[in-house]
Amino acid sequence: MSLRLIIAVLILANLISAIGVVHARYSHRQRFVELSRHEKARDELNIEFSRLQLEQATWAESNRIDQIARGRLGMKTPEPADIVVVRP
């Protein structure tokens, strides 16, 4: 009797763990898909960020700024005469 009970319990446990394995695998896949999606989103954001940085750096290229400042905005480096020196 007790042997039967043990076997029954074991079979039940086996069944439960089998279902558990299936469930674990299933949820693993779900999670992995989710992870992949988030990673993709992260990568896209990173890529966007680097693209924007590149764009900013391209706009801020020293030569370009130099030319615009001098040419279009009429800026210049102050002459020594334009600088007021104050004794500290």
């Binding site: 680097s50 940085q53 590149l54 500290p88």
Partner: protein
């Protein structure tokens, strides 16, 4: 009901026929037959079990693998290369994704009608595409076009041609272009560093591509992502010590100097004296790192670390420092440079003019070869060699830049009769511009040598190679070079004391020296507490337009340093001359505006009577200009 009747009839007929067979029943052994059938079935079952055991247990790995190979694929996850930024985080090299279109020829060739459309979208000839695919028809992978704009790639994929796929790759962009091309170097099509810091820090910058397992269908489309085998590790970012703004200044001023002097090439190096950080390193001719293949390979060289030049007169402060350290001279020692030349074996050491009797400072101020030669003869050979070696001549600076040249400093045993004397003023040994800037930085740092570095946060340990007092003394002597009477008044910066040394070295050619020159200027600023060390080398200026270091290279130093001092908020150490210059300028402006209607000589007086301690060139010019302005009125 009729079909039931017929069925019954048939059944009855069969029973009728059974009569004779029932009689022979005893002849058949039913048990034996059953055993036979059971046995046969049992053997069959056993064979099935054996086969199952073989497939499932014994050779399961093989079959599993074979099965997986048909739909599971390990796919690489590409990752980007780290970004290179300047010391303030401004991007200097950025990787952005691009798409590469590839095809499986076997698939594509199955639908030949789609080929012309594909070729048109790729912008290549249809016949050429067909040929390319046919030639590789036994392969499963061929690149059609690499590194495309992602939007363009999406358009091609939208054509939905079977067997055409895209793959993400990364392309490197250098927003600063040619101004910093040599320091950064570049990468090849597979994104690995080829030159410069891209090569030196390739391991650091390069990411490790990840790996994921996916299920693919027969046509190669990903159905499901199953597992992550290895996470992708993006490359690490690298922060350089370079300051983008100073770098640009150095590049721009060098370019201007090259245009004005008609020189063929040039280098400029700026080092932060206290830390050994390289703040700028510019070279010309340069190349566009965004289109490397188009440029001239010769322009790829980072001349500031690879090219050897005889440092010429920039060696003199070191000769003097060596002699001061050995105690054979003092700042007050007098040298008779008459008659402006002295013999050196079969040759002569000559000065541009006969400077007569000079003190130690005077030797540097006037850049007297004879004076330097006289000083070096008081030194022992080994002592002089050791001193230069300590300052980094003849050995790599340890900056870690790929292809760095250690320079050439012959050992005393290999000196010819004339070597020592020529070395005292910078001939017979070679150094890179970086080495010169490094040696000067050591002088400016109170005799503490720090390995130059390109990477922020990697500051080397200072090594005391010269007594601090002597280093300060020599720097003060070098200050006279940029003051009136020196060889480089054009390097003077208003408000700051500048220590420097010009150099004009003849280029060696065919075993002799030609009438072509290197124009040098190396200097430190501000003198009181040097912040920057800068070396400028301009190669082969047109002698007709002036070739002296003080004329060609000193203005580059001045313009770059003026900007760098302002950018880095270095307080002026010579505010008095600045105030004086301002007072002069004010007086001039007031006079022009008619506020001071006094006669010209009166207006001039206060300006001339200003405290003119060490008067920089700009002030001299300002005062010189005064009478002219007054006269014009």
């Amino acid at each position: 009901m009729s079909w039931m009747t017929s069925l019954r009839d048939r059944w009855q007929r069969r029973n009728d026929r059974r009569g004779p067979t029932q009689r022979g029943r005893a002849r058949f052994d039913l048990r034996g037959r059953l055993m036979l059938v059971t046995g046969a079935l049992g053997v069959c079952a056993l064979a099935l079990v054996a086969r199952a055991v073989d497939v499932q247990l014994v050779r399961s790995a093989f079959y599993q693998q074979q099965g997986d190979e048909r739909f599971l694929r390990d796919v690489e996850i590409p990752t980007s290369r780290g970004m290179i930024t300047d010391r303030n985080g401004e991007p200097l090299a950025v990787s952005t994704p691009v798409e590469s279109i590839w095809a499986n020829p076997q698939e594509v060739l199955k639908s030949p009608r789609r080929l012309p459309g594909l070729a048109a979208a790729l912008g290549i000839d249809a016949d050429q595409l067909t040929r390319k695919l046919t030639q590789r028809s036994d392969k499963e992978f061929v690149y059609l076009k690499r590194r495309m704009n992602p939007a363009e790639a999406r358009r091609i994929l939208a054509l939905n041609i079977p067997g055409v796929f895209s793959q993400r790759e990364y392309r490197r962009y250098y927003p600063q272009g040619e101004a910093i091309a040599h320091v950064l170097g570049f990468t090849n099509i597979d994104d690995s560093g080829q030159e410069g810091l891209e090569l030196a820090f390739d391991e650091w910058l390069r990411g490790t591509a990840g790996m994921k397992r996916v299920i693919r269908d027969r046509r190669g489309r990903t159905v499901e992502e199953v597992d992550l085998v290895r996470a992708a590790e993006p490359g690490k970012n690298l922060t350089l010590t370079i300051d983008r703004r100073i770098q640009f200044l150095a590049y721009r001023e060098l370019k201007r100097a090259l245009l004005e002097s008609g020189a063929t090439s040039g280098s400029a190096v700026v080092i932060d004296v206290a830390t050994g950080e390289v703040l700028a390193m510019a070279n010309l001719p340069s190349f566009n790192p965004n289109a490397v293949s188009l440029g001239n390979r010769d322009a790829h060289r980072n001349r500031a670390v690879t090219d050897l030049i005889e440092p010429g007169s920039t060696m003199k402060p070191l000769t003097v420092a060596a002699a001061l350290e050995a105690g054979v001279i003092t700042p007050k020692t007098m040298f008779n440079t008459n008659p402006g030349w002295m013999p050196n074996g079969r040759y002569r050491t000559t000065d541009t003019h006969n400077y007569g009797v000079l003190d130690t400072t005077g030797v540097i101020t006037k850049s007297s070869n004879v004076g330097a030669a006289k000083i070096v003869h008081m030194l022992p050979n080994a002592g002089f060699y050791d001193f230069l070696s300590r300052f980094g001549y003849g050995r790599s600076t340890g900056s870690g830049f790929p292809g760095e040249n250690p320079g050439l400093l012959p050992k005393p045993a290999r000196w010819s009769g004339t070597s020592k004397q020529t070395m005292s003023y910078g001939y017979g040994l070679s150094a890179t511009p970086l080495q010169i800037a490094h040696a000067y930085a050591t002088l400016g740092n109170g005799g503490r040598a720090i390995v130059p570095t390109f990477v922020k946060g990697e500051v080397g340990e200072p090594v005391q190679v010269l007594d601090e007092r002597i280093a300060r003394e020599v720097v003060r002597m070098m200050q006279t070079v940029t003051e009136p009477g020196g060889t480089a008044t054009q390097a003077a910066i208003l408000g700051y004391h500048v220590a420097g040394k010009t150099g004009t070295a003849r280029k060696a050619s065919n075993g002799g020296y030609s009438r072509r020159y290197f124009a040098f200027f190396a200097g430190l600023v501000p003198v009181d507490n040097p912040r920057f060390s800068m070396a400028v080398v301009i190669d082969d200026p047109d002698p007709a337009r002036g070739y002296y270091g003080g004329v060609v290279s000193a203005p580059v130093f001045k313009n770059v340093m003026e900007g760098a001092l302002r950018l880095m908020d270095v307080p002026p150490d010579d505010i008095d001359t600045w105030l004086a210059a301002q007072a002069t300028a004010d007086a001039k402006r007031n006079r022009q505006a008619g506020i001071v209607p006094a006669p010209v000589p009166v207006a001039l007086k206060p300006a001339a009577a200003l405290p003119v301690a060490p008067m920089p060139a700009a002030l001299v010019e300002a005062i010189d200009a005064l009478p002219a302005a007054g006269g014009a009125r």
